[in-house]
Amino acid sequence: MSPLLQINNLTTVIHSAAALAWPVDGLTLHIMKGETFALLGESGCGKSMTALSVMRLLPEVGEIASGSVCLHGEDLLLLPETAMRGIRGRRISMIFQEPMLSLNPVMTVAEQIGEVLQRHFSLRGAAAQKRILEILNQVGIPDAARRMSEYPFQFSGGMKQRIMIAMALAGEPELLIADEPTTALDVTIQAQVLGLMREVQQRNGMSILLITHDLAIAAETAHRVGIMYAGEIVETASRDEFFRGPAHPYSKKLLASLPRRERRRQGLPLSAIQGNVPLLSREFVGCRFADRCDHAWELCHEVAPEWITVTDGHRVRCHLFDKDMPAVIREGGFKGTKPESGTQDSGSWLKPDSQIRPAVAATETPDSCLLSVKDLKVYFPIYKGLMRSVAGYVKAVDGVSLSIQQGKTLALVGESGCGKTTVGKSILQLIPPTAGSVRYNGLELVGLERKRLREMRAQFQLIFQDPYASLNPRMRIVEIIEEGINSLNAGDDREENTAARQSGTASAERLDALLKSVGLPPEAKWRYPHEFSGGQRQRIAIARALAVHPKLIVCDEPTSALDVSVQAQILNLLKQLQDSLGLAYLFITHNISVVEYLADEVAVMYLGRIVEYGSVDEVLNNPRHPYTQALLSAVPVIELESRRHIIHLHGDLPSPANPPPGCHFHPRCPHVMPICRKTYPATSTFSSTHSARCYLYPPEQEQEQGQKQGQKQGQKQEPESTSTGVG
């Protein structure tokens, strides 16, 4: 059978002011009818450019230099532009990463889908309306007849992506190109959208070119995968074959860099891939991955490897598999391998003579409670009417209690809009809490005098999500870091610090040590943020936070803007810093796998409240709350054998301005009971650390156990306990 899409030797050039770049360089792949092909790789390796080349929709600076893209044997690159327009949206459709930005904001949904029908089927008027309604129903838009005349902004993110899919389906395409279709969505919504794509594919028999950086999504949806690195595909295989035994060293490393709990149990750092994806403007000699490869030997730097067939349908571009190579070299390559390079790349900086003094004295009791938050509430008023009186409140955070021990990590997990970032900011008093108490080392922060609070700020710092936006682009690294030291006087060593500022050398030494501790060379301090990659910038952000010797760091999605391999570097760094400096983290994230690797305790948040709280093992192995169960089941995993059962949640996260009465989760809950619609459930306790708020579990249990716990805690002299803290 001939393939539906055959890309041969595709090369794409980007003309930029500085130099030429080749984001796609000699790429060859094929997609069969009805098949999902996942193109995997990190950001900047040319995946999206490949898709845009197929569509011939490259940005104006881009140009296809050579190669062919054949759809049913017809070369699309030779078609005149007018004929190509007949293919776009009709035989090949595309959906994009950001559904929020990909729809025209001033046109109704029906108009935008109608455009496709009019363009390709000359369908107008009532016939078009009927067809639009049909497609919208097909992609699961509830109440489609009414909603089709609404504008995109009236839909949630997941619904917008459904509309994008509807628009793509309107042309009844043979091939759907999906460029990171779920990256901007929450996990539960991601599960819905991926499920929809599978369903549509089975019904229409179309092929899908799925572009993703997420190995687990590929494992769940693809039939075949191709790993892309620096503009070329380095390995292709069937899904089973690939995840059973990836061949290329890069593929192996990608898989190994996924955070997993087993690695933490064994005390191993994640195996990060050293360095970054190379710039595509450079000329490559030899294997493109050689610089980052543990197995590379001279040949790899000199000769680019050819395609080698490992087994039928599994092909790889790596000299390790070359049968002609003398066995000595092949084995030598393997022998030279260090078992874990991840330990290598950042382990050396933490020596006993490190300039960074541990912030925690070893004598302090390990389980003393550093931060305890009780019944924290943050309400934002809604103004209405002529005189703008307060008509109601958005209860962004509605009674959250938690506690973090010295040197421990609490992960706050939840979907976007559940209020987790607001919790972090109001703990640091960056947003004044409406009610509740935040005690840091026994000192109440809420309502603390401004001057005292400013002094206290050295103790707790924040790392933001987007390292591209959180560093001032007009300041050098040295200024960014010193600004914090100078304004907060670096906590306890005020005298030393003033002396240092006078001499200048001592502070410079300290800065160098600090940069070294986050894995950056001291020379980095003279440069500006734009000269660094995303991972390096996040290292700078960490150095900035560490500069004032904090004991608590609130990490607000610190790795969600980063690639998997870089994410592993940052997670390793955070873990090592915690071990050596005794830092406590409040880790705000939506990524469950990060939680598994880093957290000691987990709090799951839904619409302003914590619904489940417990140790990592308890919550992840034995989730009790239906929301936690659904959240965990929606996370894509790499599993060869059984396709796991996904608990599909219906609908979206409701608005916190108008939360459902009773248990906030009840409209989406698969176990909903009449009582859930009336009042919010009380806390049910399962162990001294594990608790949830759900009517499925008897609250009486709580009282009995609560008493027992109280006695136990009395003996242990814990000021706050996590279980009672949930209330």
Binding site: L57, L101, S102, N104, P105, V106, M107, V116, R119, Y151
Partner: protein, 325 residues
């Protein structure tokens, strides 16, 4: 929506009082009532008695802001500021120093101002948008390049040059239209052609370039790529998708100046001898006629606030995402 408009109108009152206060203060910091009297009476005939008489006739013999010799609320009402300001909110602007009624003057002078400003506005908007669209359609070609160079050149030249150059070329050399002046009814047309053309050209550079930037920014948005991915031809992408979205900043930027068109242009009216509100204001400033200056500033701020409210309303018309509350 209605609530919003009522609230905005209520907000306008303190703003207008504030504007009034600032104009008042600024005017009387550089100018005392005595100076005004001296200016009006002429240098030669000035005697202290004449000044006192002039001030008394026109109500400038009271203290500026606070009258200590009165009792109660009259301490504030029997002052120049209050007496001259309060009536303004009822659109009673009083008399100019030459004795004419300012309100009547504004009514008659409004039409000539509008006769220039409105055609300049409508014609200009059309010309700039079309020029910008052409440059965007031919982006990254010589058409675009030459257009941008032309825009920068037009921007770099002072508008005085266009006025004087236009008068010299079209009126003096070619004798196509009169150099300056104004007529009644249709007779005015021949006087208006040159000021309108000059008005459109002198603002062409900056506006065309700005609109081009807006269009290009929209072209780079993701939804444009989506539209292309549907297989739509470039002209539909440009006119249906890009234009609709780009019109949001363009229209709302334009709406704010619509009410101000009544006030005319200070520069063009003076140069072309048009008896509009612009030349009226300039003349009043020159003769230190406080009553006229204040009336014009008051009217200006009132119309500007009105323009801002119109802008907000026009947002709701062109952008479905915006609801006023």
């Amino acid at each position: 929506m209605l609530n919003y408009i009522i609230r905005r109108i209520l907000y306008a009152i303190p703003i207008l009082i504030g504007v009034n206060l600032i104009t008042f203060t600024l005017f009387f910091v550089v100018n005392t009532p005595d100076d005004m009297a001296r200016m009006q009476l002429g240098i030669k005939r000035v005697t202290p008695d004449a000044i006192a008489k002039w001030k008394q006739e026109r109500g400038y013999d009271k203290p500026l802001m606070f009258n200590g010799s009165e009792k109660g609320i009259a301490k504030f009402t029997r002052t120049i500021f209050f007496e001259k300001s309060a009536a303004m909110f009822a659109f009673h602007f009083g008399q100019a120093d030459d004795g004419r009624d300012i309100g009547r003057e504004i009514k008659t002078r409004m039409m000539p101002s509008l006769a220039i400003a409105l055609p300049v506005f409508v014609l200009g908007l059309g010309v700039y948008i079309v020029a910008a669209l052409i440059m965007v359609f031919f982006r990254a070609t010589y058409v675009d390049f030459v257009g941008v160079v032309l825009c920068v050149a037009l921007m770099s030249i002072s508008s005085l040059f266009y006025i004087i150059g236009g008068q010299f070329l079209i009126s003096k050399l070619w004798h196509l239209v009169p150099i300056s002046g104004y007529g009644e009814g249709l007779n005015a047309t021949k006087f208006l052609v040159l000021p309108v053309i000059v008005g459109v050209i002198s603002a062409a550079g900056s506006n065309t370039r700005w609109y081009r930037t807006i269009f290009l920014e929209e072209m780079g948005k993701d939804y444009v790529r989506t539209a292309r991915a549907k297989g739509l031809p470039e002209s539909i992408v440009l006119f249906r998708h890009v234009l609709n979205n780009a019109m949001i900043p363009i229209l709302t930027g334009a709406v704010v100046v619509i009410p101000l068109l009544f006030l005319g242009s200070l520069l063009a009216e003076s140069f072309f001898g048009i008896p509009g509100l612009g030349s009226y204001t300039i003349d009043a400033i020159n003769s230190q006629d406080f009553a006229v200056v204040r009336a014009m500033v008051f009217l200006g701020s009132l119309l500007y606030i009105f323009g801002l409210i119109l802008t907000d309303i026009s947002y709701t018309l062109v952008d479905p995402r915006i609801r006023l509350q």
